[in-house]
Point group: C2
Chain length 258, copies 2
DNA sequence: TCGAATTTGTGCGTATGTATC
DNA sequence: GGATACATACGCACAAATTCG
């Protein structure tokens, strides 16, 4: 015998169905919680649990004092992540934005630090033998039409770039260019990239920086550029999932070169 | 004046810090809710809200009757999604699993249905002029070592495959092969693929099928195979985010064709 | 095997704060 | 200011799963 799902879940299922079917249109106001308590003849705790559930699914949004509303699905922008990358010269990000008729910009902050064990692992660095910094860390906030769309923290081995004109990613003659172009300047040929994609709730600082609600979902990408087998840059990227989705694509090749 | 954050949030922040710092080690049991109520001198509702918050962040997991535990970060399996694909012959999924030393298997269920507007859009189908089915829908559950790892629902235009030996993806001489191989049988050359990646909480049925908690996060992929500009297959894929992460990669090419 | 104790999950009712209209 | 509506918090009862003697 299947036991019935709990009350709040059954009510959430009903409301979810009404939203998906369009009976509750985008931006429409839901019945007030007091009203729902009467309709379903349950206590306020149950209705609040329902609201939490649907809110965590991104279906509704409550505004204190005003009411609860069906969230309009802003047709999510797509951020292409392969295929076009990297075209020659200039920032890959700007190119993506231009291709979508948007205006891109970014802010950043660079400094040399000692890498965390995880970053050390991703860059293939040995254990540090001193307190000296061993990576250049650059934190980016990318904006599309003045709306923050993506956070990124990039790490480059200091041993590679120290003293070079590209040591600071966003300063000097090669500022704002992609990793591939900048590495080429110091004779390193980037041969391939890899991106590990996952998702999680945003941290407090991320939520603030991206102007999304606390705990809203972000897609996370660990991107690493390689020169043959050697990692030359790695980055942690966070993208709010309610406004953007990411697209990968490639040609189908006969058999695989491994 | 900054108003203080609500009680449950401040307590959640404290516990989160203890988990991140390692003071509460992975797999360690948290104090019981009753104990926490005493420690912080708050009501049970507050503690329950704290638990909900941390659980939704994937930091803890409660087991009814047993207690609440710090979730161990299970080094997540990586599902590679390009690079190797498609190698020749056989199921791409099985190849991925074999490459990781795991045993893959799957269950499926095929039937012809009328496509939803969204699927119609993705496959470039015209408005239906009757009630007749126009796509072959196949629902898959993929298992790795007998643990469900991925749900997929695949759609192929019925106009393409009707009457062909590959009409049923999992029946006939070409059962279990990839889309690329099967399409080749009827003279269609798949030239490229595209995957739109996003994330959301699992639906009730998905959670059940994947054996994850209700509302746990899944990565979603809308995959489409193209023969030149024509879509020949599209699929909705769901992968539980706490056990698996996905990896894309490609060689860096000089300039881009496009 | 069974039952008692423990622990989390669900649900009820109430009170108060705070933002919006 | 007053009414409305959601957010937070207190406290209680019972259900369901687990643990352990």
């Amino acid at each position: 015998m299947e036991p019935l799902p709990p009350l709040f879940r059954r009510i959430a299922d009903e409301l979810r169905a009404k939203i998906r079917s369009g009976e509750l249109a985008p931006n429409a106001q839901l019945p007030t919680q007091a009203e729902l308590m009467r309709q379903y003849d349950v206590s306020d705790g149950v209705i609040k649990a329902v609201m939490r559930t649907l809110a965590s699914e991104g279906l509704i949004q409550a505004r204190r004092g005003a009411g609860t509303f069906v969230k309009a699905r802003p047709t999510r922008q797509r951020l292409p992540r392969s295929w076009w990358r990297p075209a020659r010269g200039g920032s890959p990000f700007l190119q993506d934005m231009a291709a979508h008729g948007m205006h891109g910009s970014w802010a950043f902050d660079s400094e040399t630090v000692q890498a965390s064990p995880e970053i050390r692992d991703r860059l293939g660095l040995d254990e540090p033998d001193s307190e000296l910094p061993d990576v250049m860390r650059t934190a980016y906030t990318f904006m599309a039409d003045d709306e923050p769309v993506q956070l990124a923290t990039s790490y480059e081995p200091w041993a590679l770039t120290k003293g070079e004109p590209i040591a600071y990613p966003e300063a000097g003659p090669h500022a704002g260019q992609g990793v591939v172009e900048r590495m080429a300047v110091i004779g390193i040929t980037v041969t391939h990239w890899s991106e590990v994609v996952s998702a999680r709730p945003a941290s407090t600082v991320e939520a603030q920086a991206l102007k999304i609600g606390a705990g809203a979902l972000v897609l996370t990408i660990e991107r690493t550029y390689f020169a043959e087998t050697r990692p030359v840059e790695t980055a942690d990227i966070a993208i709010p999932v309610d406004r953007y989705e990411i697209v990968y694509g490639a040609p189908v090749r006969e058999a695989s070169g491994e």
